[in-house]
Symmetry: C2
Subunit: 230 residues, 2 copies
DNA sequence: CGGCGTTTTGAAACTCATCAACAAGTGTGG
DNA sequence: CCACACTTGTTGATGAGTTTCAAAACGCCG
């Protein structure tokens, strides 16, 4: 983690864009520009909450762990997204960890200033509430999927999700490279199972893998896998 | 569903208690007192959102369905709780259904007034945001549990949750009667499996069932079942 | 008493996790 | 540049945990 004096990009950070003019100087004083290397931890589950992270560049995974080695990836974040907001609430410890998936560029706001802003900045509060509401819907949809969908359906769903969120490059590959382990953690299964299912999908010509990149060749068939059980 | 002219109890409804004085008359004009019988649907997943429900009395289950007959109970609500807030967000359709588990007493606020209040009432907005944040944490904890805990642990967790949320009567029975089907839907398993696990718990003298009521006799052992795998 | 829904139990089928072993890359230091 | 350790990818065999199907036992009400 490296600090420097730059403020964050006004385009991509919700707090900056919604900051009321009178507070801009205070915001500038309180925000820190942090950088994290691939694999570095932004914060760890169980740690006391010290602030909120706005992603300016790079990708982050947000995960909850369980026992030794097991984890569940709850969400991915990219530029423009917020991370660490899950610490808001009754207990002041992060309920999740966040790890940089590549070099990451963060605008960090300490908790005190964040709380103060919430009390004063109505637009920001409202945007944040909407954001929470959407995340809650998303979370509960995923919950149902984890319970009722077989692994193949969950992986199909995950791939379509990733494609929607991160987009594709000129050749149709998803703009996101994930280890199989991360795919497994995201779909709530094991490394081996995730691997086998992905192999199946390749055999069936539904997806193509080149190096670490994945391309969805037959989105219709993937979508069918999602619905098969419901 | 029956309507009458009573406003809702000021003690138990968040919107009423946080309503700014100047808005009280408008609130009185816009709120409706509704009653639902056991088994009645407050609203159905997929329907357009028409407002928010504040529970004054009775218990409600909030559930998402999947295919024919399968459902996942996402949450229970009792007096003082909000239902229907999951409709707030991008799409204006309820992402869940809500069903009365017993005779229920509701203070209903139509969406237009609710939205207007959000724009003006900072305290309410803030309370609501906190509520969402807490729900999100809860949801993601449950998500991890559904993935990584065996059914027995999930049922243990569910029972402890219910006991904490609804309390117990003088004889130690949880103030909440659920069908086995609902327990199954809440823990993401089937009727038969839920039944078998509950039988085990009775055999092991961890819980007692009398009629439709459940009492936790050995909370320590239940808690251990939760943690066993993590 | 006979029907009907819920509870209870048994057994088979299946999905998926686990374990184990090995191959194929990836990086590191000599 | 090669040898080494180390991570990541690959595959098969096995078993535990759950779902599913089916059927018997039970309670309840007309």
């Amino acid at each position: 983690m490296k600090k420097d004096k730059h403020g964050c990009d006004l385009q991509s950070c919700m707090l900056c864009t919604l900051c009321i003019p009178a507070w801009k100087p205070a915001l500038a004083a309180h925000r820190q520009h942090l950088t994290f290397k691939k694999g570095e931890l932004l914060f760890r589950e169980g740690e006391p909450v010290n602030g909120i992270y706005f992603v300016n560049a790079g990708k982050v995974k947000v995960h909850k762990h369980w026992g030794e080695g097991k984890e569940l990836i709850v969400r991915f974040a990219k530029d423009g997204d917020i991370v660490g907001h899950r610490g808001v609430g009754s207990e002041m410890v992060y309920p999740v960890s966040a790890t940089a998936l590549e070099a990451v560029n963060i605008c960090f706001i300490d908790m005190t200033f964040f709380q103060a802003t919430l009390k004063v900045n109505h637009d920001f509060l409202q945007a944040l509430m909407m954001f929470y509401a959407t995340e809650l819907q998303e979370s509960e949809k995923n919950m149902r999927n984890l319970v009722h969908m077989p692994v193949k359906g969950r992986i199909a769903h995950a791939l379509l999700n990733l494609q929607r969120k991160f987009g594709v490059n000129e050749e149709g590959y998803i703009n996101m490279t994930l280890s199989r382990q991360d795919i497994a953690s995201y779909t709530g299964t094991t490394y081996e199972t995730a691997f086998r299912i992905m192999s199946d999908l390749i055999q069936e010509h539904i997806i193509i893998i080149s190096g670490k990149s994945i391309a969805v060749k037959d989105p219709a068939r993937l979508a069918r896998l999602e619905l098969e059980a419901g």
